[in-house]
């Protein structure tokens, strides 16, 4: 009995040690794939230096993480604690270049998942995930489509393309462009310094939309049925307007600033609030075809 117990213990210990070894073993050029069973809404954290990160949703209660590091000089550490899954790259001593660090990830998560992604360079794409998400990048471009939740993006010169995004979006960049295509957002706060901002969609009732940049173009496409209050100011640039606004009847009247070009007004009932601000860029309020 004791012998068999010891054998079981040794086996378990060996399995645990093997698991630990595998969880932090240097990656090879071969594709590595791991599966994690989860319940309810998992939270997935990904830390990568360089490489593509692609996140897709499926209906399984399982997270699948697959990666490929061609150089074999990157260690990928993974950890699961209940519904929390963390994936991170760590370089070995002989990493010499950005190409050595490049690790591509394909991650598949339940539709209802939270994401936390930090990467320096390489594109990040997320499709059809519903849950809160944060993205922190240096130069990585970010493409989100059909996501729903509270999304926070911080990037230095990465761009953001958000297609059919729902919920709330906060994005901050220095030189990246920001595009919101067919959004269904009820809260938007976007800021970029030299990048351009494009909002092509409808303003939801009670929604608040704040778009601000320094020198790029801010372009908003509206539909004649949209209902919003507008406050647009460019200190050194122009404001180009194709809308027929009536004076804002909500709250105190706006005083025309002696600095820059401003436009205040209400479209239809003014249900949503739209604030556009630029230092030297051009603001365009254009009618959608």
């Amino acid at each position: 009995m004791n012998v068999s117990c010891n054998a079981v213990k040794a086996g378990v210990l060996g399995a645990v040690m093997a698991g630990c070894f595998l969880a932090a073993s240097p990656a090879h050029a071969d594709r590595v794939e791991k599966h994690y069973n989860v319940q309810s809404k998992p939270k997935i954290t990904v830390r990568n230096s360089n490489g593509r990160i692609q996140v897709k949703a499926w209906t399984k209660s399982e997270v699948q993480v697959a990666w490929l590091n061609a150089s074999g000089k990157i260690v990928v550490e993974t950890e699961q604690a209940g519904n929390r899954i963390e994936v991170a790259t760590r370089m070995s001593e002989d990493v010499a270049s950005a190409d050595d660090m490049k690790t591509d990830f394909d991650i598949t998560v339940p539709v209802e998942s939270e994401l936390n992604v930090r990467t320096d360079s390489g594109n990040v794409t997320v499709e059809s995930v519903h849950g809160d998400m944060t993205f922190d990048t240096v130069g990585a471009n970010l493409q989100l489509s059909d996501v729903d939740g509270y999304v926070v993006v911080k990037t230095i010169d990465g761009s953001l393309v958000c297609t059919r995004c729902s919920g709330k979006l906060e994005a901050n960049s220095i030189s990246g462009n920001m595009q919101m295509i067919q959004p269904d957002l009820d809260s938007l706060r976007v800021q970029t310094s030299s990048g351009n901002i494009l909002f092509d969609g409808s303003f939801l009732s009670r929604g608040i939309y704040i778009m601000k940049n320094f020198s790029g173009t801010i372009e908003v496409h509206f539909h004649s049925g949209d209902s919003f209050d507008l406050n647009a100011t460019s200190l050194k640039g122009d404001v180009v307007n194709q809308a027929s606004f009536k004076p804002d009847t909500h709250g105190s009247p706006h005083l025309e600033s002696k600095f820059g070009h401003s436009l205040f007004g209400t479209m239809n009932e003014g249900h949503a609030k739209v604030e556009l601000s630029s230092f030297s860029g051009t603001i365009k309020i254009l009618k959608r075809d």
Binding site: R47, N48, E77, A88, T89, M91, I174, S257, F259
Partner: protein, 229 residues
Amino acid sequence: MQCDQFEQILIEQDEGPLPKQALAHIDDCESCRALTADLTAIHDVGLEMGGEGIVPPERVWISLRNLLEAEHIIRDPRLSPAPRSIRSGWWVAFQRPALAGSFLALILAGAGLMSYRGYEGSSSQLAFHPQFAPDQEAPPILSADSVFKQESLSVGNDSIPGLQKRDAAVTDSIRRNLGIVDNFIALCEKSVREQPDNQMAREYLYGAYEQKAELLATAMNRGTTGGLQ
């Protein structure tokens, strides 16, 4: 003396001049010299701001304390048998790149807040903030910027702890964007000087400062790995 030994001396140094060995090391080591200069500049700005007698909001201290506690740099005083001096705690905190960036951001936020409050106050209050006086040729607001300019000079070099040059694209990106933000700061400062009552220009200036602080913090935080931190 090695760099890590020098950093250890910095950590243990409460106040006063550095030991001769450490001084000799910074004569030879550009990296440690730049680090010392940066930390001293930040430290001095902090003291200058403290000397103005303006109390930052409580939430700033709470978030700072939480940050320091999370990093195990300070502990709850009820649990600490022999608390170190506050100055020592700050100095120790500066040794960590992430925290140095956070301090920088806090100092910047404080500077912006104080300037903003100064503007919103009465004209007599404005007298305490001469940077907003229309007739000033060289507003003191530039003195804060000089600190950040010094910081940015060394970003992208090996002298910034945590920022190594293995990924040239990342380093180039940070440097390029620092240049963009510096340019914005210069344009905003020009606008504020020319139009002291232009509130929007001032807000953009503060925003640009904040962006620069965040960028520097990012530069210092980014190591060569995205590993679990």
